[in-house]
């Protein structure tokens, strides 16, 4: 029984190659910085007295933060930005942990103060990942941190597929609606302009491939034999989303980077050799 339990918890215990988690950390905090920096720099528009505001996260913060003096608010914004930069730098695990705690407090407070301009969907996994960095620390070798971030992101992808199933995607060809949006709403200009994407063949193809990737990839990424193929398909899928739809970069930074954590140490080493040989054209050291 203890052996079985040990096997069950193995993905979350011990240490691993630090590079995938370092990539995920940089992508994640960079995504948050790109997402929050504009509203924290142009502070008055979203958080000044008289700003149009919407309550989406913490009602108490929504009701109380407008009373905070502008100087204190400016200081909060600067501290939040500094924490996000510290998270990218990842100087030491302890610094990353503190940066995650401060960044969570700051980003959550500002998102609660006014959720307009800060699209809600991209922030759902961000809160979880900030908590994980805060609780588990920033050690890039930590299997606990890597395993739980991977779980959190793949859970989001799997259940967005399940939500689509429950919403009737297999029978409704929902991508025909998305791909049919006019120039200026949600889709990028080239998607609105390309007639081949507006026909039933393309839209059915996109509907079914979306379901297949969202429902299949999170499972196949966990199986060693199918992992690399699933990772390639998964990455192409999220590249397709960011190339076709106007979604915040944070969405891409989180969802595209996290599956690298599924790679085993030997697969990371193989990938490194491949990149050195094919892309950098340097022999491995």
């Amino acid at each position: 029984m203890p052996g079985r339990l040990d096997n069950l918890f193995a993905p979350f215990e011990g240490t691993r190659d630090p590079r995938p988690l370092a990539i995920v950390r940089v992508a994640f905090f960079l995504g948050l910085l790109v997402h929050f920096a504009p509203s924290l720099i142009w502070l008055d528009i979203g958080y000044g007295r008289g700003a149009v505001r919407v309550d989406a996260w913490n009602h108490w913060l929504f009701a109380h933060l407008w009373k905070v003096p502008p100087g204190v608010l400016r200081a909060m914004a600067l501290v939040t930005l500094a924490a996000l930069v510290a998270g990218i730098a990842g100087i030491r695990p302890l610094v990353t942990r503190i940066a995650a705690i401060v960044a969570f407090g700051g980003c959550y407070a500002f998102a609660s103060f006014n959720c307009i301009h800060l699209q809600t969907l991209a922030l759902i996994p961000a809160w979880a990942i900030l908590w994980l960095f805060a609780i588990c620390g920033g050690n890039p070798r930590s299997r606990l941190l890597a395993g739980l971030i991977l779980f959190q992101v793949l859970l989001g992808v799997e259940f967005s597929g399940i939500e689509k199933l429950l919403a009737g995607w297999p029978w409704s060809n929902e991508m025909a609606t998305v791909l049919g949006y006019p120039h200026g709403f949600l889709v990028r200009d080239w998607v609105a302009a390309l007639p081949v994407l507006h026909g039933p063949v393309a839209s059915h193809l996109f509907t079914w491939s979306t379901l297949a990737v969202e429902l299949g990839a999170p499972v196949l990424l966990l199986v060693r034999r199918t992992r690399v193929a699933a990772l390639v398909v998964y990455e192409l899928f999220f590249l397709g989303i960011i190339a076709m739809l106007e979604v915040p970069p944070l969405f891409y930074f989180i969802f595209a980077s996290a599956p690298l954590l599924a790679l085993g140490d030997d697969q990371v080493a193989t990938a490194e050799r491949w990149v050195r040989a094919r892309v950098l054209r340097r022999p491995s050291s």
Binding site: F9, H117, I124, W127, T177, F185, L186, H198, E246, P248
Partner: protein
């Protein structure tokens, strides 16, 4: 202790996911799990409206521009979507955007909300609403 944390985290994540899918379908309601990452489920384009707005604006010369240009804060790669979604969920947002961009007492801005109905046409709006603001004193 570590294993208890792992089990708790995974159980909470699953509870949050099931809350917005199975519980919603079976029980007809969701439960407030309080934690921010469990509040909204994992919804990504599962139900897409076939009536959507495209928002532009014009000054006195009548030339149409993207309404996203009225917001000085950059939104890399999603500026138009940000304006459209904020306008959909917060109607007063467009009025605020309009007022903030008046540059002098003679300035006037008209924001056009072209409503497209995909069941009718994706090339021509089915309806157009206007939000107009100027800095002239009210009579």
């Amino acid at each position: 202790m570590r294993r208890a944390f792992i089990v708790t985290w995974i159980a909470l994540g699953l509870a949050g996911a099931l809350d917005h899918t199975i519980a919603d379908k079976l029980l007809g309601r969701t439960f407030d799990l309080r934690l921010p990452h469990l509040m909204y489920g994992y919804v990504m384009f599962n139900d897409n409206s076939r009536r959507v707005p495209v928002i532009t604006y014009a000054r006195a010369d009548g030339e149409r521009h993207e309404a996203a240009e009225l917001d000085p804060r950059p939104a890399f790669g999603y500026a138009r979507a940000r304006v459209a979604i904020d306008a959909l969920f917060t109607p007063v947002y467009l009025r605020d955007l309009c007022n903030r961009n008046l540059v002098d007492k003679d300035d006037a801005i008209t924001i056009f909300v072209d409503g497209y109905d995909l069941d009718v046409s994706r090339d021509h709006p089915a309806i157009t609403n206007k939000v107009t603001c100027d800095a002239r004193p009210a009579r």
